[in-house]
Amino acid sequence: MIRYRVAVHVVPRRGLLDPQGKAVADALHTLGFSGVAAVHVGRHLVLEIDAADETTAREQTSLMCEKLLANPVTEDFEIATVSRT
């Protein structure tokens, strides 16, 4: 078994109203960052997983996202990085 550090991004599904993202975008505009077209606020999770190889670690993480870490009705997830600890 190898220990992997897996980083996951969970973000609101595109097209769904994201009031939190909009509020942050508005605040950035107020600060003068007029180039900000949109902000999406989600969650960044870091998991430490013991797995035989990287593929297994990725598969396990996808399964965890589908079952718990992301809401399949409203959120999308992506595995950002997988590295050995």
Partner: protein
């Protein structure tokens, strides 16, 4: 009739539900601890409001794994009544007992206020005590109450009469501001396809005593009583 009120760590509406059943309705109520596997032969399960597991990850996301939820799910599959209020509604959606999800209010604010609702379906086991299209006032208290579902689900809910309560304008709440959280189709409460699980963001158990304002929540409990006793 016996009501069972599930207490999760972080539930805060459990006592209100307990008191409502005992004092306003005059029926029996027991608390069901989330770690138990025994529904104590209750006729009706209430998933109360609150912040189960601190709303960690998402509201209701962790509570659905509580041991008692295995029995709650079996209760639902038997066609027995489940009333899921506020955080209970969020738990029921996460657990797949009801379709859709409840997201952050579009205002980003926690809203604690009485709201007007239209009873869209008065033929359910939870609403037979209301008139068709009756306007009632119930309190809400939530930060994550924006009901969301995909188009297909919404169409099915509307077509099958599963939308039970809808936020509605009245004399006080202006036409453009009556929806307190941005819910799709102004949805405040829905029933399952089988009709025995009601999820709603407003709190009927906090509107059962005329001393504290309109007791518009009482007919909901009386409806369940009539149906189950029948």
């Amino acid at each position: 009739m016996k009501f069972g009120i599930v207490t999760f760590p972080g539930s805060n509406g459990d006592y209100d539900a307990y008191r409502g059943v005992i004092e306003a309705l005059g029926e029996e109520a027991v608390y069901l601890w989330h770690k138990d596997h025994d529904l104590q032969s209750v006729d009706v399960v209430i998933l109360p409001g609150g912040f189960s597991y601190g709303d960690y990850l998402r509201a209701g996301a962790i509570a659905r794994f509580s041991p008692i939820m295995t029995e709650v799910r079996a209760h639902a599959e038997r066609g027995a009544p489940i009333l899921a209020i506020c955080n209970g509604f969020q738990v029921a959606c996460e657990a797949g007992l009801l379709p859709g999800a409840l997201l952050r209010n579009n205002s980003l604010k926690f809203v604690c206020a009485p709201v007007s609702l239209r009873v869209e379906n008065s033929a359910t086991m939870f609403t037979s005590g209301y008139d068709a299209k009756e306007i009632v006032t119930l309190p809400i208290a939530h930060g994550d109450g924006r009901y969301s579902a995909d188009d297909e689900t919404l169409k099915r809910l509307e077509g099958e009469g599963q939308v039970v309560f809808r936020y509605a304008p009245d004399a006080i709440q202006a036409e453009e501001a009556y929806n307190p959280n941005g819910s799709m189709n102004d949805i405040a409460g829905i029933v399952s396809a089988q009709g025995n699980v009601l999820g709603m963001m407003p709190h009927p158990e906090r509107a059962v005593d005329p001393l504290l304002g309109p007791a518009d929540g009482l007919p909901l409990f009386e409806s369940i009583l009539h149906r189950v006793a029948a």
